[in-house]
Symmetry: C2
Subunit: 400 residues, 2 copies
């Protein structure tokens, strides 16, 4: 896996590394570093939870600066761990600053794991020098492996855009890694994503593009309606592609935004498919809603409904639960106009539709379920992703 | 059980009845009637779901009128069942009107059951006359049994207030029945409650009292965050106690409101305890919040969090999940002021508190779990109720 440039090392000029420093009791990799020797323009979206990880607080403070590196630990959320939490965070950042020879304010930090335990400062600090020594353009997959917790899969993405770079035949690239077994994990709770690009782009435009892309991807992902203290999406742009600066409303911006959105949607779907205990992936598309907000609310509510999720786990075409979930949000809806499809079957079209129950059950026995709801109130659409709710989800989250 | 006046027949002048008409395939009782020969002042709160049962739509239209009766069926939600649904509803009400010799507009209607199936008009109509013949002041428990679906318990309440009636040694009484195995049921979704009283009270005051009481009780109940198309709480007051009219801001109003709130809270707790697959009852109290809304939001979010509910199912004192749930709502909160208690144990007080893990685990092995969170931002408090999330919940809701 380490034989080529991929994951966050896919774009020019990004190095990465990952190792086991001893936070995880099982000896799994738990510390990752992304590094660009050239300063990066950066953008981020953070959890809106009032209980924020100290790592999130550190990054919120420094996201305005030019950025060279992001440190990520798994196995400990660095959240709700008391007043000393902030001081420990600062000292780890200073230690890494010395090892990288980069000011601490140019380093971001992300953590994922159990809430309420103090971050093991010594355990992390003693490994920082080794982590820096291992930085390479071939270690993107090591980093991606170091940020997961109980994820069943490592989640990365690489995209080459059509935006030409300075060198002959070169193009702007994006690379990315993410973790999250559905917002939630047995002991741990977090969704993290890290996107790198060698694009030349302004901070304002990068922020705009990331905010929009996250709105269409990670924010449309729901596993259990539980929001973490640590959710973070970072995007770093180091300008190494040497492309013509991407300007607002330009063709190039449209291409860059599309690529960024594709990266985010691909990672979001991978997280939904890896949901705790999940056996089925669910995609809910809402069409012709009055507003974008209405479309998103309806799509997310259906994908997040425990009753819809258990019905799908049971391969039971109980479409009444989908209708009840859709109706429960604050969005314009009228039963006499509505059309509901499960897979290729229309189950409701202004009135209930007589369906071939066994064909629909056959469809529900598959592991990718599509739900489409045509609201007929306007022109906006949205798609949300989730997974079924199984006994395994409960069992996994009961265990210490 | 039928030997005395209880449930909705507890106050003077109310009759009730219940029987099996054939909606439920297992032959269980599925049709109930509450009747007061004297017209009643009425108040109600209805689901805010955009997909409303035709029974709810009928009752919304007629709640302004003086009321004599409420018909309730279980086994079919009378929701999302197509254009004919409304006409069927009207014809059933007209049939009952003839049998009771009361105008249809003075009858309310409530339904609970599977969404999307047409109400079996003939099946219901052929039993209405028998149902009317069986009306008696001794049949409150028959009615209470006829409105449940997969509830494990019949839920009723009787209260005598200190407000004196016209007769010597008589007092204003309240009676009630409810159904709901946690908003949700295998095939069915609904919480219904019916409260009767013989109080003399104005429509405006009854509405005010019911709205407040529901806000403090049923609206603070959460099993799975799924909202039904049929949720309804009705209160009928027939004035038979002959008490001095209850006026706003009077001592009597305070007593009446307190009794109504007690009835509602008692029924809400009974519903939480009977949650699908639930083994543990959870009570979450929030103190010293900035506003009532903040207090309610935090309490409901904790009681409704899948991660908190699974941790409690696993008897695992993962208080970090409680903090994360509290922080995820839009409410004023500051970790450096917050205090969190599980049972009699303080687990966080501005900082994490070292706890006796085994004592706390002992506490969590019980079947009533109390969580208290002191926000220290203001003076408002709220309490929410829920239950743990078990594999049984998933299993029950997977099945057809």
């Amino acid at each position: 896996m380490n034989s080529k440039r991929e994951s966050v090392c896919f774009p020019e000029g990004f190095l990465a590394g990952g190792l086991s420093c001893g936070i995880k009791k099982d000896g799994g990799k738990d510390l990752a570093l992304i590094f660009s020797p050239s300063e990066c323009i950066s953008a981020a979206t953070f959890t809106t939870n009032r209980v924020k990880s100290y790592s999130v607080l550190w990054s919120i403070r420094n996201i305005k600066n030019p950025i060279n590196a992001i440190l990520i630990n798994s196995g400990n959320a660095n959240a709700a761990c008391g007043e000393e939490g902030w001081n420990i965070t600062v000292r780890i950042m200073e230690e890494l600053s010395a090892a990288l020879n980069v000011p601490a304010k140019k380093i971001l930090f992300a953590s994922t794991g159990l809430i309420g335990n103090t971050l093991p400062e010594e355990t992390i600090n003693k490994s920082l020098k080794t982590l820096v020594e291992r930085l390479s353009s071939q270690s993107g997959m090591d980093a991606a492996e170091s940020i997961i917790t109980t994820d069943r899969t490592i989640k990365t993405e690489n995209i080459i855009t059509s935006i030409p770079g300075r060198k002959k035949n070169s193009h702007v690239k994006l690379g990315a890694m993410a973790k999250g077994a559905g917002m939630i994990n047995p002991n741990m709770a977090t969704m993290l994503a890290f996107i790198t690009t060698d694009a030349v782009i302004s901070k304002e435009l990068l922020h705009l593009a990331l905010k929009e892309a996250v709105g269409e991807s990670f924010n449309m992902l729901t596993i259990d309606n539980d929001q973490s203290t640590n959710d973070t999406v970072f995007c770093l742009a180091n300008g190494k592609a040497g492309n013509k600066n991407i300007r607002q409303n330009s063709e190039e911006f449209a291409v860059f935004y599309r690529a960024l959105k594709d990266v985010c949607i691909s990672l979001a779907k991978k997280i939904a498919k890896d949901g705790e205990g999940a056996k089925k992936f669910i995609e809910v598309s809402v069409y012709d809603a009055w507003s974008k907000k209405d479309a998103r609310r309806i799509a997310k509510r259906i994908a997040g409904s425990n009753l819809v999720k258990t019905a799908i786990a049971g391969e039971w075409p109980n479409w009444g639960r989908i209708m009840a979930a859709a109706g429960s949000v604050c969005a314009r809806m009228d039963l006499s106009k509505l059309k509901l499809e499960i897979g290729q079957w229309t189950v409701y079209n202004k009135n209930p539709v007589k369906i071939n129950g066994s064909a629909l059950k056959d469809y529900l026995s598959g592991n990718e379920i599509n739900i489409k709801i045509h609201v007929a109130m306007g022109k906006e659409s949205a798609t949300a992703w989730g997974c079924d709710l199984t006994e395994d989800y409960v069992n996994i989250n009961k265990r210490e």
